[in-house]
């Protein structure tokens, strides 16, 4: 047998919330990868496993209720199954809602693709008194049926056995029989034995005379007749194989919903959960991020430098590796703990079933702003850091809602901006708190304006129809949570990480080329900064040193201060310190321990620490206060607030919404920033 014949391609299909992700996590383990379906922002999960000499590839299709392509998700599933049919369909059914799920099964059976039926959440079904006769079900449909519990992983092996058996014995499901007249008409359309029921139905719907004939026979439109036949199939099959013992027990979901969906109590609980989410994700990961940053810059970088000196490398090469490469890697890695924690907490909220409930609870407020109820979480997270906030939009189903929120998030002012604001506000203003607060408000206003512009132009559409299922509360296993977090983290490092790394290298080069530059003024960045002055002059920035500092600040806004310090004070970045490998290693170890201690301590501390700002750059303060005035400082702060001078944000935007959207947004934010700063500066000059 040739090796390529030993591959089986399996597509997971099922309604939303049936536990496909959980099953896939058990089936494919660490081989699981996420990506997007071509050209769309809908998520695609893939993985593989080896079993009995076969490589079984799993492709997860979006959760859908029907194969009639109405939404983007359904269109993706429909196109995949009809255009590049897999070897097999793994139809996952939420057993407690089996009758509803069997409607999709009917549509899938029409495709004539071999199938294995998975009755998932069998434990929940048993609690509800739903007892399925699997043997009878196998006999009626002519396929293998497996009972599983996606939470514990019971039945996973049986799925693999069933897949291989179905493949080897070439088991194909029996054809569904619909009502007599419909079957007669379908048969008369058949031209070859190979045609599937789905193809025959498609043909029938394209023939006018057949449509009239059905209307005459049934007194209803053909579409409706076919749908009712599928429902009848699902209903009949369900009654045939399910024995129901009515069990009355107070179910935990009803109980929890009484509080969590209560208009007042529920809202309070939501903000409490949001606070904890905020606190844990930002405060907890901050000490680790700081430590990681220090570890790379104060330990790995000088250690590498030492090694390169030994090898006799020229100075520029040496600095390229120890500053640019290590710096770039470090910059990517500093986001990692933050992203991991956000993914972990969001996945937890999603798998427990709380996330869709927020949409229901918050819809009252959010729909007035033309936004989906779910968009509140990413928007609030934006105040902690825009990067994970954009990442958090992945819980939104509709592409329109998702893009809308992604375009609003960057205007939520983050702590990186606060660092810059507090420096300038304290240097130039008598009442810095008021200035900073106004900037936060301005950010929100710009976000709302952006949403209005987008809704009137490229993201038209209405929120009118709102249909959503609220799954029962379920407790996810740690195995599932960590599995999923690892999958997303890998994807972040691979896709956003490479971009962040590449751009950070380019920026370093612009500051250090041509070779042998001593003063920042002579570097490429300095020249660009000077050339940019005509653009910045109308908003009150007349000093090339300020415009040049914006170039490295594209990495992250707070860098504007350190690069201003470098340029203004011409301090030079080279630190000639004694470096001892063993001493430093010891220091780093203690640093990690104290970071861990600090992380856990911040969990107990009720106040958010993310907003604490430490006093730095006192030398810079006196120099800057001479080269700028109040008004140009205010204009500069507004510019920094609105312009998305943040490589991390643009990179995740690139990943979540595409290249065009990310670059378009970057330009938009620059124009908005310039315009706002210009208005404030001009109005201020007149007063």
């Amino acid at each position: 047998m040739k090796s390529e014949e030993k591959n089986i391609k399996v597509a997971l299909v099922g309604n939303p919330n049936v536990g496909k992700t959980s099953l896939l996590n058990h089936l494919a383990g660490t081989t699981l990868r996420v990506g997007n379906w071509p050209g769309v922002t809908v998520e695609k999960k893939e993985g593989k496993t080896f079993y009995n000499g076969y490589t079984i590839y799993f492709i997860d299709l979006p959760g859908i209720y029907t194969l009639e392509p109405l939404s983007e998700d359904e269109y993706i599933a429909y196109r995949f199954l009809t255009e590049e049919p897999p070897d097999m369909i793994l139809n996952v059914i939420e057993t407690p809602n089996m009758e509803r799920d069997l409607f999709l099964t009917a549509e899938l059976l029409e495709l004539g693709i071999p199938m294995v039926l998975v009755l998932n959440m069998i434990d929940e079904a048993q609690k509800l008194g739903v007892d399925v006769d699997t043997e009878r079900l196998e006999e009626l449909l002519g396929l293998k049926v497996v009972k599983t519990n996606g939470r514990t992983g019971v039945g996973i092996k049986d799925i693999l056995t069933a897949i291989v058996e179905t493949y080897e014995k070439k088991i194909t499901p029996k054809e569904i029989r619909y009502s007599e007249d419909l079957e007669r008409l379908l048969t008369s359309l058949r031209e070859s034995v190979k045609e599937t029921k789905q193809q025959l139905i498609k043909k029938l719907l394209a023939h006018k005379e057949y449509l009239h004939e059905i209307e005459r026979l049934y007194g209803k439109p053909a579409q409706q007749v076919i749908r009712e036949n599928r429902f009848a199939f699902a209903h009949g099959l369900y009654n045939e194989v399910v024995k129901r013992k009515p069990i009355t027990s107070t179910d935990i979901t009803t109980l929890l919903d009484r509080f969590l969906l209560h208009p007042y109590i529920g809202t309070v609980v939501f903000f409490l959960i949001m606070f904890i989410l905020f606190k844990v994700s930002f405060d907890f990961s901050k000490p680790f991020m700081d430590w990681l940053d220090g570890f790379l810059n104060d330990f790995v970088s000088p250690a590498l430098g030492l090694a390169l000196i030994e090898l006799g490398m020229p100075d520029l090469v040496l600095r390229f590796f120890s500053e640019a490469v290590i710096g770039g890697v470090g910059f990517v890695l500093t986001f990692t703990p933050l992203i991991a924690v956000i993914y972990l907490l969001l996945s937890f909220l999603e798998f427990t079933g709380y996330l869709p409930r927020i949409a229901f609870l918050m819809d009252r407020v959010m729909h007035r702003l033309g936004l989906h109820g779910k968009s509140l979480i990413p928007l609030l997270l934006g105040f902690g850091c825009n990067v994970p906030a954009i990442v958090a939009t992945r819980t939104m189903e509709s592409k329109r809602d998702k893009l809308l929120v992604i375009a609003m998030i960057p205007f939520m002012s983050c702590p990186a901006r606060l660092v810059v604001f507090s420096f300038f506000a304290i240097t130039f203003f008598k009442n810095p708190a008021l200035v900073i607060f106004s900037l936060y408000i301005l950010g929100i206003v710009i976000a709302l304006i952006t949403a209005i512009i987008l809704r009137k132009t490229i993201l038209r559409g209405s929120l009118e129809h709102f249909v959503m299922e609220l799954p029962p509360y379920r407790l996810p296993t740690l195995r599932l949570l960590f599995g999923v977090v690892w999958v997303y983290l890998k994807d972040f490092l691979y896709r956003a990480g490479t971009l962040i790394f590449a751009v950070s290298i380019l920026i370093w080069l612009s500051m250090n080329l041509p070779p042998g530059v001593e003063k920042p003024e002579d570097s490429i960045a300095g020249k660009v900064g000077k050339a940019l002055i005509p653009i910045f002059e109308p908003i009150g920035i007349k000093d090339w040193r300020v415009s040049t500092s914006l170039i490295p600040a594209f990495l992250a806004r707070e860098i504007v201060l350190s690069s201003m310090a470098t340029i203004y004070l011409a301090e030079g970045t080279k630190k000639k310190e004694e470096f001892s490998l063993s001493e430093s290693a010891k220091e780093q170890l203690f640093g990690l321990l104290s970071a861990t201690k600090e992380a856990f301590y911040s969990l107990i501390n009720p106040l958010p620490r993310t907003f604490e700002v430490s006093e730095e750059y006192s030398n810079l303060r006196s120099v800057v206060s001479k080269s700028m005035d109040e008004l140009s400082a205010l204009s500069f702060m507004i510019f920094i607030l609105i312009y998305t001078s943040c490589l991390g944000t643009i990179s995740v935007m690139w990943r979540e919404a595409g290249k065009k959207f990310a670059l378009g947004f970057l330009i938009y934010s620059f124009l908005m920033a310039w315009l706002s700063a210009f208005i404030v500066y001009k109005v201020g000059s007149m007063l």
Binding site: N97, L128, D363, H465, L470
Partner: protein, 70 residues
């Protein structure tokens, strides 16, 4: 009577669904079909929370208005 007018806590039987074809298809596939009995669990703003067999479904009131019940 339509589903929007049903009081919280009441159980009703669906008689007919009207309105846009694509909306009907969607809610039918989710289980809201003729002959099914649903319980109104909660009304909040412009949405209604329903219980149908073992699933909970949220629909907006403009859809509920087109679902006739008894």
């Amino acid at each position: 009577m339509n589903l929007e007018d049903v009081k919280v806590g009441a159980k009703v039987m669906i008689r007919d669904l009207k309105g846009k074809e694509e909306v009907i298809r969607r809610v039918e596939a989710m289980g809201l079909r003729r002959g099914r009995s649903v319980e109104v669990l909660q009304k909040l703003g412009r949405t209604i929370l329903l219980k149908l067999n073992n699933s909970r479904i949220v629909i907006s009131k403009d859809i509920a208005r087109n679902i006739y019940v008894e």
